[in-house]
């Protein structure tokens, strides 16, 4: 793959998915795209990119975007966000939504489903407090292929052993040959939709909690700002946004404020605060929790 082909790939991925491919990611391109090339009976990455440059290869275009944007995922990945869910978000929303008794969660990079299912497990574990509540989890991802896997809820022995306590495996999975499948009750708790965050997503409605971990890192600054401000419109006052541990909204938008001492957790600003490009966070009216 020569420099102009790499440039083409960068531009192609930016346009299609928002993914910003830095020049040090050649290795990633090789490891992710060589299998795609082979599948398409193309011998080299150069052949693959030349094929992409010609119009009318929709299947190949989709495969390339999906291969480059898919992340590996574990159950209860990073632990902390799920502690935030159990200890901070759920108790607060149990109070503030007590009259409606509904809880809506959106996982915006659901990948192969581990994150939405981990949240479904958290909700099941909190069943005693959620009696009579309607909970809805929506998992979206750019890739239709990973969503098919998510929907099936079938995981290998390796996948169920990272992050998932053995008691949870016994309680919420069924053994299917060499694989383990999420129980029907949990599968029924999650809806799946194919969705590109660069496109309009207003039709999804409003969400009390939005998990959007390690997605914005692929976008450049203006795209991050634009996506964050549109996401903010989906979350009511006092709703929550969960980002990856290394991500922040500070310097990007005023629509959310960091929840003190809770890494990766942000709360929608009370009314009056507009979703515009930000001032520094310390200029925000209130940094305390409600």
């Amino acid at each position: 793959m020569n420099a102009s082909e790499f440039e083409f790939l960068k531009k192609f991925l930016k346009e299609r998915s928002g993914l910003v491919l830095s020049n040090d990611k050649q290795y990633l391109v090789e490891s992710r795209l060589l299998p795609i090339a082979r599948n398409a009976k193309l011998e080299t990455l150069s052949n693959l990119i030349q094929t992409l440059q010609r119009p009318g290869n929709r299947k190949l275009e989709t495969d390339v975007v999906e291969a480059m944007t898919t992340n590996e995922s574990f159950f209860f990945r990073d632990k902390t966000p799920f502690e935030h869910f159990n200890e901070t978000m759920l108790p607060a929303l149990l109070q503030s939504r007590a009259s409606q008794r509904t809880l809506k969660i959106w996982c915006a990079a659901a990948s192969t489903g581990q994150e939405p299912y981990s949240l479904a497990i958290c909700i099941k574990e909190a069943a005693a407090k959620l009696g009579g509540w309607r909970t809805r989890i929506i998992g979206t991802d750019l890739s239709q292929e990973v969503l098919e896997k998510a929907k099936a809820g079938l995981y290998s022995q390796f996948e169920v052993q990272r992050g998932l306590p053995i008691q949870m495996l016994l309680k919420y999975f069924e053994q299917k040959g060499d694989m383990w499948q999420i129980s029907p009750a949990l599968r029924a708790m999650v809806e799946w939709r194919q969705l590109n965050l660069l496109e309009n997503f207003n039709h999804l409605g409003e969400f009390d909690i939005l998990f959007c971990r390690n997605v914005l890192i692929y976008f450049d600054q203006p795209t991050k700002i634009e996506v964050l401000n549109r996401l903010a419109k989906m979350i009511p006052e006092d709703g929550y946004l969960v980002l990856g541990a290394a991500e922040t909204v500070v310097g990007l938008t005023d629509a959310f404020k960091p929840v003190p001492e809770k890494r990766g957790l942000f709360q929608r600003k009370p009314s009056g605060a507009s979703a515009t490009v930000s001032r520094p966070a310390f200029a925000a009216s209130s940094l305390g929790t409600r």
């Binding site: 574990f74 022995q157 390796f158 052993q161 990272r162 992050g163 306590p165 053995i166 008691q167 495996l169 016994l170 053994q175």
Partner: protein, 121 residues
């Protein structure tokens, strides 16, 4: 430094496990079957035990049952590590007092994840 007793009749598995656990800062002792493991525990109770199921002389489940009846035998964190990967075996191990369960084949990531799960690292 925390001690971990690796109990497996396969010297290859013991070696692989030792390498992974030493990198995680454990001091390693080895036993080839349940009886050797029990003898070791009576002399010196480890912090953690990585335990195979099928072994000659005394198997892992029998060892675990005996261990939990020993004085101080409730203390070690026991992580089964076995090719027995069906629900019935896992449930029996948990009832007998296992803290976690690894289904072979395992790798470094799984051992780390499971040891983290039970608060050993």
């Amino acid at each position: 430094m925390k001690q971990c007793l690796v109990v497996d009749d396969s010297s290859v598995i013991r070696k692989v496990a030792r390498r992974i656990l030493e990198d995680m800062n454990f001091e390693i002792a080895e036993a080839e079957d349940g009886q050797q493991a029990l003898d070791h525990c009576r002399k010196s109770m480890p912090d953690a035990i990585l335990l195979d199921w099928n072994m000659p002389v005394m198997d892992g489940l029998e060892f675990l049952t005996s261990l939990r009846n020993e004085e101080g035998g409730e203390r070690p964190v026991v992580v089964f590590c076995t090719t027995e990967n069906d629900v019935a075996h896992i449930a029996r191990a948990i009832r007998a007092g296992a803290n976690e369960y690894i289904m072979k084949p395992f790798d470094r990531e799984i051992v780390e994840a499971k040891f983290q799960e039970v608060g050993l690292i």
